[in-house]
């Protein structure tokens, strides 16, 4: 009886373990297909040749946001900025990728056909603004982008061939502070990278060969007064230690 129990218990455990596991897999696959973003437009050739002109097309990919965390996040950012959820046509939210900047742009159409909510995302920060698009004189269309405090950021006019004109850029404190925040974050990341590279470079065992490692170590030794003093007292022992340490040096060596 005891022996039977010993066999049955692990078997029961395995059944319990595997069956909910299968359900979970199926469930996660379903939710994945429901929530994934769908591709609307993609032109990878734009990634290879980036036009230096501001007016040229820089959008190389557009996605329609699925019902996922990314969409929830941008909606919550919009709500935090005073936009009403009912005003947004969330199912039509799109994500834009540019070839000349790492900034991501989201656009969410609203119930007002002349207004579209625009969110810029950079370094995990969001800037929420409202784009206004309405007919102007002589068949032109007037486009302006305002921050949520109803201050202008820029405005321009478009003709029927989508050519831009009368571009005006305004002083906007919100955009400025967003730029400053992004800049400081980017600068922080870059400076950390530089520090890391510097630290890696100082490890002479990462040099490509034994002789390069020796040269690097001797250079480092010249910067340290302790090392220089010891080189006067016991040069042979010092060089022997360096030589032994540099054996096996290379890019994959441990520092």
């Amino acid at each position: 009886m005891k022996r039977k129990c010993l066999f049955l218990l692990p078997l029961a455990g395995m059944i319990l373990f595997f069956f909910p596991g299968c359900d979970k897999d199926e469930y996660s696959q379903n939710t994945k297909s429901e929530s994934a973003n769908s591709l609307v437009y993609e032109d990878n050739s734009l990634l290879e040749e980036i036009s230096p002109y501001f007016y040229d097309n820089h959008i190389y990919r557009i996605e329609l946001l699925g019902d996922n965390q990314e969409r929830e996040r941008i909606v919550s950012e919009a709500l935090l900025n005073g936009v009403e959820k009912n005003f947004l046509m969330i199912e039509e939210a799109q994500k834009y990728f540019f070839n000349h900047t790492g900034v991501i742009m989201y656009s969410i159409p609203t119930l007002d056909p002349e207004q579209t909510l625009i969110l810029y995302k950079s370094s995990g920060l969001y800037q929420v603004s409202m784009a206004h698009y309405r007919p102007a004189e002589a068949g032109l269309m007037f486009f302006e982008l305002k921050t949520m405090d109803d201050r202008n950021y820029f405005s321009l006019k478009l003709d029927d061939q989508m050519r831009m004109g009368e571009l005006r850029v305004f002083e906007n404190e919100k955009i400025k502070s967003f730029n400053r925040a992004v800049y400081s974050l980017t600068y922080l990341e870059e400076s950390q990278e530089v520090a890391l590279k510097g630290a890696e470079a100082e490890c002479c065992r990462k040099e490509s060969s034994w002789s390069a490692c020796m040269n690097c170590t001797l250079d480092d030794c010249g910067d340290s007064w302790v090392c220089k003093a010891v080189a006067l007292i016991a040069p042979a022992e010092l060089v022997a230690g360096f030589a032994a340490s540099c054996i096996g040096s290379g890019p994959d060596s441990r520092c």
Binding site: T217, S224, V226, C227, A234, S245
Partner: protein, 69 residues
């Protein structure tokens, strides 16, 4: 006592050389181990200096004794 003094005397040389070798070995391992490497080099250098000073006094004494006889 003489044996102890002899051991102590030669230990300055041995410990000094060993500390310098280990310090030099750790030196190319980068800034993380630089402090330890420099500390060992300093200790080793100090031990060798003590050894050399003691060696100097020892041979000076021997030279004097040889000169008197």
């Amino acid at each position: 006592m003489i044996t102890y003094a002899k051991v102590k005397f030669w230990s300055f040389l041995v410990i000094g050389v060993v500390c310098i070798f280990i310090g030099a070995y750790l030196f190319p391992y980068g800034p993380d181990k630089r402090a330890l490497a420099e500390f060992l080099l300093l200790i080793g250098g100090a031990q060798l200096i003590i050894f050399v000073v003691l060696l100097f006094f020892r041979y000076r004494k021997r030279n004097r004794e040889a000169a008197q006889t």
